[in-house]
C-alpha cells in the first residue's frame, strides 16, 4: 500500500519538492495538498512584473490544476488547515481532513505589519501574494499618491511596479540607506539616485508614526513630522515565518519551525521547508536555498540520505534600470581588505571584500556584468592572489589602468560653475584653453577664473588639464587619505553636482575608502549642512564627542555645561536656577568663563538631559560652548551705565548673539562688542570685533587670541547699528560658505585676502544675498539642542544601556 503524504501550502518550495519527488519515485506516495489560497503554485518572484503590467497571472503560473491532476494529487485549494493532530496523524482543514504517514509544512511567511495607528484603514495593503498585487492594481493607482513603507527588496519592487502604473510613489525606509542588508551605503546611495531619477521619492531614516485618514488611508505621518499624502499605503517592512499551525501542534518553534539537516521537525513524521523554517538559527527568504531544501526533502521522504547545507546566495533587484548585485559578507573586519572601484561619470561602484586571498563578499552597482564571475570565485574559494592587481576590472580586462581621480571634473557639464566669485563656468575655461590660454595665469587673465579668492584654483587646474590632455601640475593635497580632492574642491563639487549626502559625496568624488574616516566625515557633514540647510539631515555620528553630546567632555569622562548668557547679561532668577542645578547634580566646580558666562564642570553624562531640562525651565538654553559655531558675544556695559560709553554695546551684543546663535561654522566663532575705544570687551582679538565710537560702529575681523595672537583688521565702518548687524551676518555667512573646515576666520582671511572679503561685503546686493542665505539656514538651526535632547524619548538614551552590577547584586 502506498504511503500517505500530506502537504500544507502550495508555494514555490513545496511545488519544487513535489516535482523532485514525482520525478524520482512517482508511485511512492498518495499526495494530498492543502492551500489557503484558492489556486496552485505560481512564481512569486514574478509578482512585480504583474504589478507593473508587464506580465499577467497566467504567465507566471508554474503548477496549475492540470499538473496536479496528472500526478494524482488530491488538491484541496481554498481550504486553510486549522489543526494538526499528531497523535492520530490527521490534518484538519475548515472543510475536510486527511490522514498522513508523512506531513510537510510549507506555510511560508506572512508580511510583518508595523503596529501604528491607522494600519487597519482601507487602502493599507501588504505585498506578498497575488491577492495583494491584484488589490493594488484594482485600486487604480494611476495619478494617485502611493507610499511604500520599507526600502528592502520587496518594497522597492512594489514601488517600481506602482510607479510603472503611473502612481506618484514615495518610499519610506527606517535605515540610513536602501536595502541595507544587501548593499553598503555607497551602493545604496546610487540606487536611491536612480530611483529618484525614475520619479520615486526616497526618504531614508524615516520612522512611520501613523497612517492618517478617516474612512480610508489619506497620508503617512513620520516621527520627524513629515507627512506624505497617500491614497495607497503598502507595507513591505519584512516577513515573519508563518508558524501558527506548528506552534499549536507543540512542535519546536523558535523564529521559524526548527528543522534538522534532513528538514525533519521535532516530530519524526513531520517535515518543513521554505520560509517557515529555521535551520541552525537561520531563516530563508530567497529562492535558491528554498529550492535546495526542496531537493533535500524529496530525498528524505524517499529514505535517502541528504543534508541541507545553506550556501551564500546572490541578490539582484528586479527593477529595470537599477542594476545591482550583492553576495556574501561585505562587512569590514580584521584581516579583511577592500578593493573599491568607482566611476563617478558612469555611476558605477564595485567593491570586493577579500580575506586571505579569497573573495568573501561582492557589492556592485551600475555595471554588474562581472557579478557571476566574482560570485563563482567566491563560491569556489578561489585563490585570487595572482590576479589581485587587476581583479576588480573583471575577467575580460586584465592589466587595466587605475581609476581616474579627475572623473568627477570630467563629468561636469560645460555650464557648471567653477569660479563662484566671478561666475565662470567650465565651458568658458575650456574655450579659453582651446583658444591658447595654456597656463593658469593666462586663464585667469582671460576668464577671471580663480582670480579673486583663489580657492577654486585646484578645480581650474583640473579643467585645464582635461582640456590640455596633460597631467596636473602642483595639484593641491587631498583633504585626507580617503580623497585626492582638496577641501575647496570638495565644497565646490558638492555645490555644482548637487550632492546632498555623505554617501553621495563619497561616490561621486571617488572616495578611496568605503565609509570615510574621522578626518573627512565631520568636514563633509559641515559642508553638506552649510550648502543644503533644508535638504541635508545632520549626521550626529559624524560629529566629534562634544558636538554629538552638546557638552564638553573632560579628562575624567564627565562633561561641562555652559548655559547661554546673552551678551554676558544674567538675572537673579537665572543665577538661582544655575545654583540650584549645581546643588542638585553635585557639580564639583562652578567657574566663570572667559566668555562672560558660567561653567558647571563635572556633570555625569546620564545627568545631562536632566540638568538641561532644569535649566530650560528657567529659560536658559545651550551656550554652544562645545561647538564649531557661534560661542559668545562678549560685551562691556556701554552707554547704558558707563560714563564713557558711546553706544549701547550690551544691547548690540545681545542682538548679535540672538541672531547668530545655533549656527554651525567651519570652526568656532567669538565676537566682542566694546562701547568705546578703551575696548573693555577686548573686541580686537576676536573673530569679529565691534568698537563703538560717537559716529557709529567700527567692525574688524580675523583676530586671534589662542596659540596665535593677532589683532583684528578693519572690515568696515557704519553709522547705523542695523547696517553693522548686516555686515557681521554677511561676514559670518561668507566664512561659512568658503572656509575650509577647522580654519578659524583669521586663517581663512589670510588665504583669500582681506580685500576680497571686503569686496564681497561692500557689494550691497551680494551682502543682502549672504544675509538671506544665513537666515534660511537659521530657520533650521536657530533652536536649542538641549530642549530637543531632553525629551522623554531622548532622555533614556543618555544612560547606560544596562547595569549588570545591579543584577549581580540580586
Amino acid at each position: 500500500m502506498r504511503k500517505k503524504l500530506v502537504v500544507i501550502g502550495a508555494g514555490m518550495a513545496s511545488g519544487r519538492m513535489l516535482e523532485q519527488l514525482f520525478e524520482t519515485a512517482p508511485d511512492a506516495y498518495d499526495v494530498t495538498l492543502f492551500n489557503a489560497e484558492p489556486r496552485g503554485n505560481y512564481n512569486r518572484l514574478m509578482l512585480s512584473p504583474v504589478l507593473s503590467g508587464e506580465k499577467t497571472y497566467d504567465q507566471i503560473v508554474t503548477h496549475d490544476g492540470g499538473w496536479y491532476a496528472a500526478h494524482g494529487v488530491d488538491c484541496r485549494f481554498g481550504e486553510p488547515v486549522v489543526q494538526i493532530d499528531r497523535k492520530a496523524r490527521v490534518v484538519r482543514s475548515n472543510k475536510s481532513a486527511a490522514e498522513y504517514d508523512a506531513l510537510v509544512i510549507a506555510t511560508g511567511s506572512a508580511p510583518f505589519i508595523i503596529p501604528v495607528a491607522g494600519r487597519d484603514l482601507p487602502g493599507v495593503v501588504t505585498y506578498r501574494d497575488l491577492e495583494d498585487t491584484e488589490a493594488m492594481i484594482a485600486a487604480g493607482i494611476a495619478g494617485k499618491d502611493a507610499v511604500v513603507i520599507g526600502g528592502g527588496l520587496l518594497g522597492l519592487e512594489a514601488a517600481a511596479g506602482m510607479a510603472a502604473r503611473g502612481a506618484r510613489v514615495t518610499v519610506i525606509h527606517l535605515m540610513g540607506h536602501l536595502m541595507e542588508r544587501q548593499l553598503d551605503p555607497a551602493a545604496g546611495y546610487l540606487l536611491e539616485r536612480d530611483l529618484e531619477r525614475r520619479g520615486i521619492k526616497v526618504h531614508c531614516k524615516g520612522a512611520t508614526k501613523a497612517i492618517l485618514g478617516h474612512d480610508r488611508a489619506e497620508a503617512v505621518l513620520l516621527e520627524d513630522g513629515t507627512v506624505y499624502p497617500a491614497d495607497l499605503v503598502c507595507m513591505a517592512v519584512g516577513i515573519r515565518p508563518e508558524t501558527r499551525l506548528a506552534v499549536d501542534a507543540h512542535l519546536e518553534v523558535e523564529r521559524g519551525i526548527v528543522v534538522d539537516d534532513a528538514l525533519r521537525s521535532s516530530d519524526p513524521h513531520i517535515f518543513a521547508l521554505g520560509e517557515c523554517v529555521e535551520h541552525r538559527g537561520q531563516l530563508f527568504g530567497l529562492v535558491a536555498p528554498l529550492y535546495d531544501q526542496a531537493k533535500v526533502l524529496a530525498k528524505t521522504l524517499l529514505d535517502q540520505a541528504a543534508e541541507f547545507q545553506p550556501v551564500q546566495t546572490a541578490t539582484k533587484l528586479k527593477v529595470t534600470g537599477c542594476d545591482l548585485f550583492s553576495a556574501g559578507d561585505f562587512a569590514e573586519g580584521q584581516g579583511r581588505e577592500d578593493i573599491v572601484f568607482r566611476d563617478p561619470g558612469r555611476g558605477i561602484y564595485k567593491r570586493l571584500v577579500l580575506e586571505g586571498d579569497r573573495i568573501i563578499g561582492v557589492v556592485m552597482y551600475g555595471d554588474t556584468s562581472d557579478g557571476s564571475w566574482f560570485y563563482g570565485l567566491m563560491k569556489d574559494k578561489a585563490d585570487i592572489s595572482d590576479m589581485r592587481e587587476t581583479l576588480i576590472f573583471g575577467p575580460a580586462y586584465q592589466g587595466g589602468t587605475t581609476p581616474d581621480p579627475m572623473a568627477a571634473v570630467a563629468a561636469l557639464p560645460p555650464e557648471a560653475e567653477i569660479c563662484g566669485c566671478n561666475g565662470v563656468c567650465k565651458g568658458t575655461i575650456t574655450a579659453a584653453v582651446q583658444a591658447g590660454a595654456t597656463t593658469l595665469d593666462l586663464v585667469r587673465a582671460r576668464t577671471k577664473a580663480s582670480g579673486s579668492c583663489g580657492t577654486c584654483t585646484g578645480l581650474v587646474q583640473q579643467v585645464m588639464a582635461l582640456s590640455l590632455g596633460g597631467a596636473l601640475v602642483d595639484a593641491p593635497a587631498g583633504m585626507c587619505k580617503c580623497s585626492d580632492h582638496s577641501h575647496e574642491d570638495v565644497r565646490r563639487l558638492i555645490r555644482s553636482l548637487a550632492l546632498k549626502s555623505i554617501p553621495a559625496v563619497m561616490q561621486e568624488l571617488g572616495w578611496k575608502s568605503a565609509g570615510g574616516c574621522p578626518s573627512c566625515r565631520p568636514a563633509l557633514n559641515f559642508y553638506l549642512l552649510a550648502e543644503w540647510p533644508l535638504d541635508y539631515r545632520d549626521d550626529r555620528q559624524s560629529r566629534f564627542v562634544n558636538e554629538r553630546n552638546h557638552a564638553n567632555i573632560q579628562k575624567d569622562g564627565t562633561y561641562s555645561v555652559v548655559p547661554r548668557m546673552w551678551g554676558g547679561v544674567t538675572t537673579p532668577d537665572e543665577l538661582r536656577a544655575i545654583a540650584d542645578a549645581a546643588d542638585k547634580y553635585n557639580v564639583p566646580m562652578v567657574k566663570v568663563t572667559g566668555g562672560q558666562r558660567i561653567d558647571l564642570l563635572g556633570v555625569r553624562k546620564e545627568d545631562l538631559p536632566h540638568i538641561w531640562a532644569d535649566l530650560n525651565a528657567a529659560g536658559l538654553v545651550s551656550g554652544h560652548a562645545y561647538s564649531k559655531g557661534l560661542r559668545t558675544v562678549k560685551t562691556c556695559v556701554g552707554s547704558e551705565f558707563c560714563r564713557f560709553g558711546t553706544q549701547d554695546s550690551t544691547g548690540l551684543g545681545i542682538r548679535l548673539e540672538k541672531l547668530l546663535w545655533g549656527s554651525w561654522t567651519p570652526h568656532k566663532v567669538k565676537l566682542g562688542v566694546s562701547g568705546c575705544p578703551r575696548n573693555c570687551a577686548e573686541a580686537t582679538c576676536k573673530d569679529v570685533g565691534v568698537i563703538c565710537v560717537d559716529s557709529g560702529y567700527q567692525i574688524s575681523v580675523a583676530g586671534a587670541a589662542g596659540m596665535e595672537v593677532k589683532e583684528t583688521e578693519a572690515l568696515a565702518s557704519t553709522p547705523s547699528e542695523d547696517e553693522a548687524v548686516q555686515i557681521i551676518t554677511a561676514f559670518v555667512q561668507l566664512y561659512r560658505e568658503n572656509a575650509r573646515y577647522l580654519d578659524r576666520p583669521y586663517k581663512w582671511v589670510a588665504k583669500v585676502g582681506l580685500d576680497w572679503v571686503k569686496a564681497q561685503i561692500a557689494d550691497v546686493e551680494n551682502r543682502r544675498a549672504l544675509v538671506e542665505r544665513f537666515e534660511l539656514s537659521q530657520s533650521v538651526y536657530r533652536r536649542d539642542p538641549w530642549a530637543e535632547l531632553s525629551t522623554p524619548t531622548e532622555t533614556p538614551k543618555w544612560a547606560p544601556l544596562a547595569d549588570l552590577t545591579l543584577e549581580a547584586a540580586e
Binding site: M175, G176, E180, D184, P185, R255, G281, F330, A331, E332, G333, Q334, S513, A514, G515, G516, C517, P518, R521, R540, Q541, S542, F544, V545, R548, N549, I553, K555, D556, G557, K797, P800, L801, A802, D803, L804, T805, E807, A808
Partner: protein, 110 residues
C-alpha cells in the same frame, strides 16, 4: 560554552555609535558598526583613560575622543604608532537582542 546575558535591543545602540554597560568589572562600551556588527570593549583608553564609547566609529575601528588613539575593535589593539590595547568581550546579536558574556555579571577574581 560560556553563557550570555541580554543587555538590550540592537536598535538601542545608534549606528556608528555606542552605549555603555555598567558591570562589576568596570564600564563596557558596546559598539554598533554601519553594517550592524556589534563589539564590546573596555570603555577606557589605555592612554589617558578616555571613554571609547564616545569615540567616532569608522569601519571596525573606534577613535578615542580625548587624544585620537584608534583601536581595532576586533582585537582591541591600538593602531598606527600608538601601542596598547583594551580588553574585548564576547558579544553577539540574536533576534535583534544584544547578548554579552555572563562573566561580566560577576566580579573579577582577585
Amino acid at each position: 560554552m560560556s553563557a550570555f546575558v541580554d543587555i538590550g535591543a540592537l536598535e538601542d545602540v545608534p549606528v556608528q555609535g555606542a552605549r555603555v554597560v555598567r558591570t562589576a568589572q568596570g564600564c563596557i562600551a558596546v559598539f554598533r558598526t554601519l553594517d550592524d556588527r556589534v563589539f564590546a570593549l573596555e570603555d577606557r583608553c589605555p592612554h589617558k583613560g578616555g571613554p571609547l564609547s564616545e569615540g567616532m566609529v569608522h569601519g571596525d575601528r573606534v577613535t578615542c575622543p580625548l587624544h585620537a588613539w584608534a583601536f581595532d575593535m576586533n582585537t582591541g589593539q591600538a593602531q598606527g604608532a600608538d601601542e596598547g590595547a583594551v580588553r574585548t568581550y564576547p558579544v553577539r546579536v540574536r533576534n535583534g537582542r544584544i547578548l554579552i558574556s555572563a562573566e561580566l555579571m560577576a566580579r573579577r577574581a582577585a
